[in-house]
């Protein structure tokens, strides 16, 4: 009987995994190669499409497509732009806006969402006004905030904050309210105080939703920052951000530079969400297992 009750006795000693170098791992990473192949195929199709009329004559032109600059031209323009300080300043100012708005939204949104979730009185008081303000698109706030806030920069920060705030709050609220009642009951019958319940059960139980909210919120933040930068006109060339970079290229009539700006935004957004995923993995080791 006791032999059967001891799973440790027949648990095999774990075989140490074969150590592989980082480079070798990268080389053998199939999904990485699939990703690279997909991007190359996409670029080739784009190049062919854009140069169609050049190669096959105007009569074969696919309507509209011929106006798009081919990736090789975009790459050339990019190389020209790369050493310019203005381009990198655009990156920095957009990132600064995104991060500050996003952090403010997290800082205020997480406690607010948790309060809504755990306290009925708080929810009764604050949920209705929140729900009325939530459907207003962040961009609808632009005129009012331009009037209300003394500087352009502050209005952009405010609108950015709004974009992420509502998404984060809704996710935190939903996540905290959906924690399995068995966890709460188990903790309570073990004698958990309100604080133990909050810090050890509700908070970690809500973390996945917090990170979902953060990922979605980060996407919205980029959208809003870009739009706000285009609307506000950016002031000086450098402080305008990537949104103004695109707008400015449009005003200057450089199609290639517009595409450079767009791809830059894409890369920036990808970097941002990768960062959130990495932090999420690090914070939630139990989620890495699946």
């Amino acid at each position: 009987m006791t032999d059967i009750a001891q799973p440790s006795s027949h648990a095999a000693t774990p075989v140490p995994p074969k150590r592989r170098g980082a480079l070798q791992k990268l080389w053998q990473n199939q999904s990485l190669w699939r990703g690279i192949t997909a991007i190359i195929v996409f670029l080739v199709i784009w190049e062919i499409g854009a140069r169609w009329d050049e190669w096959f004559g105007k009569e074969w032109m696919i309507p509209g497509v011929g106006l798009i600059p081919p990736p090789t031209d975009v790459a050339t323009t990019w190389l020209e732009v790369l050493p310019k300080a203005g381009y990198w300043e655009s990156w920095v100012s957009s990132f600064r806006r995104v991060i500050s708005g996003f952090l403010m939204a997290m800082l205020l949104g997480i406690p607010f969402g948790l309060m809504l979730a755990v306290n009925k009185y708080f929810r009764d008081l604050f949920f209705p006004p929140f729900e009325i303000l939530r459907p207003i698109p962040p961009l609808a706030w632009v005129p009012a905030s331009l009037i209300f806030w003394p500087t352009n920069e502050m209005s952009i920060a405010f609108i950015t904050f709004l974009g992420a705030f509502f998404t984060i709050v809704i996710n935190v609220l939903g996540g905290a309210r959906n924690i399995d009642v068995r966890y709460l009951r188990a903790a309570q019958s073990m004698g958990a105080s309100q604080w133990d319940l909050f810090s050890k059960i509700i908070l970690p139980g809500t973390l996945p939703s917090i990170f979902t909210g953060a990922a979605v919120g980060m996407g919205i933040t980029w959208e809003v920052v870009l739009a706000a930068e285009m609307i506000s006109g950016g002031g000086t060339q450098g402080g305008g951000g990537l949104g103004f970079f695109i707008w400015n290229s449009y005003m200057g009539g450089s199609l290639e530079q517009i595409v450079v700006g767009m791809i830059s935004v894409g890369i920036a957004g990808y970097l941002s969400s990768s960062a959130i995923r990495a932090i999420g993995d690090w914070y939630m080791p139990w989620k890495r297992l699946f």
């Binding site: 059967i4 799973p7 440790s8 399995d180 009951r185 903790a187 019958s189 004698g191 059960i201 139980g205």
Partner: protein
């Protein structure tokens, strides 16, 4: 852990529970009484959705009762004037689908009780948790997350998490429900071994008859909703029981006896189209 002789006697007296969702009264438990002696393994068998879990929730203090009273060692848990029992570590529940906190390792899960009760410092609690897990044959996986171990292991860890609080009663709500027969039989033997060590009173809900007879001192067959005590079968097969017990003649006779009672109720439940109550 100290063996407990005279603690954990449960008296369920004339308990009635009426749910009132949107004004439609649903009687889940009707005038149900049973006496569970200290250190007894008491198996509750009945058709799905009959209100067994309601009874367990009342003992654990998750739900109120409408009439009657429940006493633990002569002390009133809930009754007239106090419809809902306080939740307390002397009555630990092991849930139907398991409720280990997925964000804590097994050791952290087990250490949670003593830590929040402030009876132990974190380090001492974790140490004790590791010892107890090792005792239950989980010494190799103490620092794994519940998602990393098999359902059998996590259920066993959950029982350890309950036992570290030194409960008077262990309340188990079909803990081995979704397991295959082989895992189940291993679970049974390990539970019996734990019981022999601790002599904790066990209130065990199941609808697996073999499980009921194999584990129990008493098998209480309850009726389909509303839940009432239909028949009590005393299992006088001596302990320790091993899986050979299940092929013995006395086991077979008891099976027949319980089966007859349960079968009637199962047919009634089926005809009434009962669905599981949450």
């Amino acid at each position: 852990m100290a063996t407990q002789k005279n603690r954990g006697a449960l008296s369920i007296r004339n308990v009635t529970k009426i749910y009132d969702p949107e004004g439609v009264n649903v009687m889940a438990v009707d005038n149900c009484s049973m006496e569970i002696a200290a250190g007894e393994v008491c198996m509750i068998v009945g058709p799905s959705g009959c209100g067994k879990t309601t009874l367990l929730n009342a003992i654990a203090g998750f739900h109120s009762i409408t009439h009657g009273e429940i006493l633990l060692d002569g002390e009133l848990l809930c009754g007239p004037g106090k419809p809902k029992a306080d939740q307390g570590a002397e009555r630990m529940v092991v849930f139907q689908h398991g409720a280990l906190f997925p964000w804590m390792t097994l050791a952290q899960n087990v250490a949670y009780g003593p830590m929040v009760q402030r009876t132990m410092r974190k380090k001492a609690a974790l140490e004790k948790a590791r010892d107890m897990l090792a005792e239950a044959g989980l010494g190799d996986v103490t620092d794994k997350y519940p998602g990393e171990v098999s359902s059998g292991m996590s259920r066993r860890a959950e029982i350890v998490r309950a036992l570290i609080n030194d409960p008077k009663v262990l309340l188990l709500d079909e803990p081995y429900r979704a397991m295959d027969a082989l895992t189940k039989s291993i679970m049974h033997e390990s539970l019996l071994e734990t019981y022999d060590r601790t002599k904790v009173t066990i209130f065990f809900i199941t609808h697996d008859l073999e499980e009921a007879i194999f584990l129990g001192d008493k098998v209480h067959v309850v009726t389909t909703r509303p839940c009432q005590l239909k028949k009590t079968v005393t299992v006088d097969i001596p302990r320790p029981r091993t899986f050979e017990t299940q092929s013995s003649e006395e086991f077979r006779v008891l099976m027949e006896e319980v089966n007859e009672a349960v079968h009637e109720e199962a047919i009634k439940a089926f005809q009434a189209g009962e669905r599981e109550l949450a």
